[in-house]
Amino acid sequence: MSSGLLFAVVGCLLFVMGLGGIILLDHLLRRILAFNLLGSGIFLVLVGLAQRNGRPDPVPQAMVLTGIVVSVAATALALALARRHQAAGGNTGQTDRTSPEERHD
């Protein structure tokens, strides 16, 4: 088993974990983290799968390099949106729906 294939499998696992996180988690910041994990999983699959035979492949590497910078931009935008949402008094979904009074403890 080459390291490329191993990390492609890890990438699949990360993708599913990230997807599950986006669906199942409540807090917006956690969802942003999950989104990033999902993205990293895809990057690993892209590069790992292309390098199963052990030879480096510049094309997916260049694509992933682009992808990483774009995902930072997406993260920054998502964080700004989430903070705006919170500042506007929105529920970031982080609780305790049973006892909203305790949010200000």
Partner: protein, 316 residues
């Protein structure tokens, strides 16, 4: 079992562990820190996968920018209290169908992975064949700026769009420093010139070995963030025009060269082979500055208005 495989397996396990921690821990601060750890472990993974370009970008962005952005957001979210654990038995039952679907998806993905043909097209050989025409001698840079130059052009546009989006929804409010000490400014004064030097080195290295505009820009942006943490560089407010001009300058330079080539050669970003090296260097230098400012703006561009809901403040 040989040592290389053991190394990879252990690294993979640590990576999955940190990802799981980032998702499942009930505490927000721990989740963010574990995510930073995940990014740093990923740097090691890229190194193992013979992708030093990506490792450089991941190290510079993960340690420098994403980490600080997330920690800053954590400080803003932390004040509304800790999230509930949400791991009760009832929620587990409710979530069971979703988890089942996810597991089926995972099985399908892994099955698909094992059935893929080893190699439909031989991309590395094709890249190697075209290398003499690319004007540079490092294949990743050749792909980024010559063979797939329009991808890079659009990527810069995406970064600008993200910043426009942030400006549109309203900038986050700057939070005051919780603590300050004398050593950090001293570190910043010595480290930032070194980081600038490192960025120039990475930019120069990009044409013949791993490195290039993105990595250099990430390094420069990290330098600006460090200056801000040391209170040498104050936050940027939205009205400052030089920031917007510099950010758009790199993109416009790229666009102008693309349009010029379209008129001269009849192909978008089809460089003539003998000038390709020079044009790529020109584009990369412009990109480095504007990308760096764009990335730094994600952290430094802060609203000058006070917090809309001051009653949520409970800082000491």
């Amino acid at each position: 079992m040989n040592a290389a495989l053991t190394f990879d397996t252990l690294l993979a396990l640590l990576l999955l562990w940190s990802a799981w921690q980032a998702l499942s821990t009930p505490k927000l601060d721990r989740a963010v820190i574990m995510f930073i750890v995940f990014g740093l472990l990923l740097t090691l993974v890229w190194s193992r996968l013979d992708a030093p370009d990506i490792a450089l970008a991941e190290a510079a962005l993960g340690a420098g920018l994403t980490g600080t952005l997330l920690l800053d957001a954590l400080a803003a979210f932390g004040q509304t209290g800790q999230p509930a654990g949400n791991t009760g038995f009832v929620t587990t039952i409710k979530r069971f169908p979703t988890i089942l679907v996810l597991l089926v998806l995972l099985a399908a993905l892994l099955a698909a992975l094992s059935k893929l043909p080893l190699q439909a097209v031989n991309l590395p050989a094709m890249v190697a064949q075209q290398m003499p025409d690319s004007g540079v001698s490092h294949p990743v840079t050749a792909v980024l700026l010559n063979f797939r130059g329009y991808d890079t052009l659009l990527e810069v546009a995406v970064l600008m769009l993200a910043l426009l989006g942030i400006l549109t929804v309203g900038l986050p409010v700057e939070r005051p420093l919780l603590s300050r000490n004398l050593l950090v400014p001293i570190l910043a004064r010595y480290a930032v010139p070194l980081m600038t030097l490192a960025a120039i080195y990475l930019l120069w290295a990009g044409s013949h070995r791993p490195g290039g505009a993105f990595q250099a820009a990430a390094m420069l942006a990290a330098g600006v963030v460090l200056l801000n943490l040391a209170q040498v560089q104050p936050r940027w407010i939205p009205g400052q025009h030089w920031i917007r001009q510099l950010i758009s300058a790199g993109f416009l330079l790229f666009l102008c060269i693309a349009a010029l080539l379209l008129m001269l050669n009849g192909g978008l970003l089809h460089y003539p082979p003998d000038q390709a090296g020079l044009l790529i260097l020109l584009i990369e230098s412009g990109l480095t500055v504007s990308l760096a400012i764009n990335l730094a703006a994600f952290y430094l561009l802060r609203s000058d208005r006070p917090e809309p809901l001051p009653n949520q403040e409970d800082e000491p």
